[in-house]
């Protein structure tokens, strides 16, 4: 039986190739995982944006209904006791002036 002699150079090359392949594979897997994670994050943020846009629209609608002139007048008159300004000439008197 002839014992085969190990070729150190070959082993080194093989190991290097294996290490490089493992590194590439690891990077690829990491890249894919990160891509998917980022994609999911983007999708979540898109959903959040859509939700917030919906909220904005709903709030705009709420604001419009709160600014209903009829409602505003009702509150002004009934709750705050405001009245229409009187049609009159306003004369400002200096302190100490007698009329």
């Amino acid at each position: 039986m002839v014992r085969r002699k190990w070729n150190l150079k070959g082993i080194a090359l093989g190991a290097a190739f294996f290490a490089a392949s493992a590194a590439v594979l690891t990077f690829y897997v990491w890249y894919q995982t990160e891509s998917v994670k980022l994609g999911l994050d983007i999708a979540k943020l898109d959903d959040r944006i859509r939700e917030l846009e919906k909220d904005i629209e709903a709030l705009k609608l709420r604001k419009a209904s709160l600014l209903d002139p009829g409602r505003v007048e009702r509150i002004a008159r009934e709750k705050l006791g405001l009245v229409d300004p009187e049609d009159a000439v306003v004369v400002y008197e200096r302190p100490g002036t007698t009329r």
Binding site: K60, D68, P69, E86, D87
Partner: protein, 577 residues
């Protein structure tokens, strides 16, 4: 030499080979039949089982007032759909549909339609034309009914309820019926639908959606309406309708210079969120009610004679008889007058005097002026269902009679908007400005058209129409601090059933203010008012009350001093207010 066994094996092998070859040919032929000739059918069956092409609804554009306030907008909602599920028994299907009926309060007709489509394996269909809130949709989805799904949609909301109902029109829940600007500008508002493919697993649940074409949202529409002015108009109109128990009423407020409609109110009205509302409220009276205007039409008669120089301001007309006979008919005054000057005839709204000076123009001349003021043709405002009104064809005019009757506002049909447009001719110094209700809409086209000279318009305003409010039939419409020019109208209503005029009236007042630099042209019309029926009595005060609020809101400076009502206020030393 072959042995017996060798030849037997060979024969058997041959037979088997032929059988296998034959089987292979049969399989191949069947494959060709299925894959080649049956390709389209097989593909359709596979696609139907595994995916749906769903229409993506675009967001409908908002409707805004001139200040950017929201009058209509669409909020997210959902449409619920259902599709047949393989291996589901009819009993299970029925149970599922009954559950949906209960949850979504479906009508019997809707339920029957769903069942028949499911039984016919008709594929994807909506459970109802209506849209549901997202909460309702989530509740139904939580039931996890096989084959039932929801897709995003939008639902129309009108935050101000009945305000400007006839202008906005509205959309019903099923979105197959529209009115007002929603109908007129539907193409612009609705946007363009998108499409997406929805892939599904066995049981009908979606696992992936691919957008093929994104929906294009509708464009926003900006109206010329001012929400606050619209509110003033509607509030005062409703108050007058209730006070006078009128059948219907309308108020239109125009920007005198631009023709922008600042408010268009019509009663009875409805809540736009419940479109179409009760039938009696459907008509937009401002543009859809065609009626005999009565004395407000004298503004056109006066313009026709003055523009042609057929009457002088100092000319006198004998109205003392209280009636005048024309073409076999008798025209009377509501009060017997004396000898009146031309302006006094109009200020006191004497029919007898008006007929006398109207007869100084020929029929073609009078028709020409009437048409120039826009009577008998649509104003082409951006709203559906506008009436053109009508003027009798020239050959149908009865000699001596028709001209006289039209001169005082009978035998001619107009809409309130046409009369407002006609009065605005005097506010603009003789120019006819087309009214518009949508900024950048179709009605933007066209420059103002000169109808009468500036001199005629100014003279009539200063010597006649202002007098109507200061000392004439519209004294109740006077407004402290501002000058108003206008004309009242009180027209008896024609009853076709008895073929005669009855004791019911259409009252109106049309005018503009301030006189020096007109900002508002307004018409108020009340149909069949009770407890007073003269235009000056029931409509002029409404004009005054609305104008007072609008002028204050628009901060229009006063034209003249207020009556001597003085308020005093203290002032901090050294500071001037």
């Amino acid at each position: 030499m072959r042995t017996f066994y060798e030849s037997d094996i060979r024969r058997r092998t041959l037979v088997l080979s032929f059988v296998l070859a034959g089987w292979a040919v049969v399989v191949a032929l069947r494959l060709v039949q299925v894959q080649v000739f049956g390709h389209a059918r097989a593909k359709a069956a596979v696609l139907a089982q595994t995916r749906d092409v769903i229409t993506m609804e675009p967001r409908r554009g908002n409707i805004l007032d001139r200040n950017g306030e929201i009058l209509a907008c669409s909020l997210p909602a959902a449409r619920i759909f259902i599709r047949p599920v393989a291996k589901e028994t009819p009993a299970e299907t029925l149970r599922k549909v009954r559950r949906l009926q209960k949850e979504l309060v479906l009508t019997g007709k809707e339920t029957a339609t769903i069942l028949s489509r499911l039984q016919a394996k008709a594929g994807f269909s909506y459970v109802s034309k209506s849209k549901y809130s997202e909460d309702d949709a989530a509740r139904v989805m939580a039931l996890k009914l096989p084959g039932v799904g929801s897709e995003p949609a939008t639902r129309r909301n009108y935050p101000l309820g009945p305000l400007a109902s006839h202008v906005l029109g509205g959309i019903n829940l099923a979105e197959d019926s529209r009115g007002g600007v929603e109908a007129r500008y539907d193409d612009l508002l609705k946007g363009i639908e998108g499409r997406q493919i929805s892939f599904k697993v066995n049981g009908g649940r979606d696992y992936e959606n691919h957008v093929i074409k994104s929906p294009v949202p509708g464009r926003d529409l900006v109206l010329t309406i001012d929400t606050t002015i619209q509110y003033f108009a509607e509030k005062e109109l409703l108050r007058a309708i209730i006070e006078h128990e009128a059948a219907w009423g309308t108020v239109i407020i125009m920007d005198s210079e631009t023709g922008d409609i600042l408010a268009m109110a019509s009663q009875p009205a409805y809540d736009v969120n419940r479109f179409p509302g009760p039938q009696e409220a459907w008509m937009n009276r401002a543009i859809g009610a065609s009626y005999e205007p009565g004395s407000v039409f004298k503004i056109i008669t006066a313009a026709a004679v003055r523009e042609r120089g057929r009457v002088g301001f100092s000319e006198l007309f004998d109205c003392s008889a209280g009636f005048i006979r024309v073409g076999g008919t008798t025209i009377t005054d509501h009060d017997r007058e004396r000898v009146l000057s031309f302006p006094q005839v109009l200020i006191k709204s004497s029919n007898v005097g008006t007929v006398q000076f109207a007869q100084r123009v020929s029929v073609p001349e009078f028709r020409e002026t009437i048409q120039a003021f826009g009577i008998g043709t649509k104003t082409r405002i951006d709203l559906p269902a506008e009436e053109p009104g009508s003027i009798k064809p020239a050959d149908k005019w009865i000699k001596g009679s028709t001209l006289a009757h039209i001169a005082i506002g009978y035998e001619v049909m107009v809409t309130p908007l046409q009369i407002a447009q006609a009065m605005n001719v005097f506010a603009t110094g003789g120019l006819l400005v087309r009214p518009r209700i949508v900024r950048g809409g179709a009605a933007d086209a066209g420059e103002p058209v000169r109808v009468i000279s500036e001199k005629t318009a100014t003279e009539l305003v200063q010597r006649v129409f202002e007098g109507v409010v200061e000392e004439g039939t519209a004294k109740d419409g006077r407004l402290d601090g501002y000058r108003i020019a206008g004309k009242t109208g009180t027209a008896k209503k024609w009853d076709p059933a008895v073929n005669a005029y009855t004791r019911t009236y259409t009252a109106s007042f049309v005018g503009f203010t301030p006189v020096e630099n007109p900002r508002l042209t307004m018409i108020v019309v009340l149909d069949q008012p009770k407890d007073g029926y003269y235009g000056g009595e029931v409509c002029a005060p409404v004009f005054r009350d609305i104008a007072k609020q609008v002028l204050r809101y628009l901060r229009v400076p006063r034209e003249r001093a207020l009556p001597s009502s003085v308020l005093t206020a203290g002032m901090t030393a050294g500071r001037t207010p």
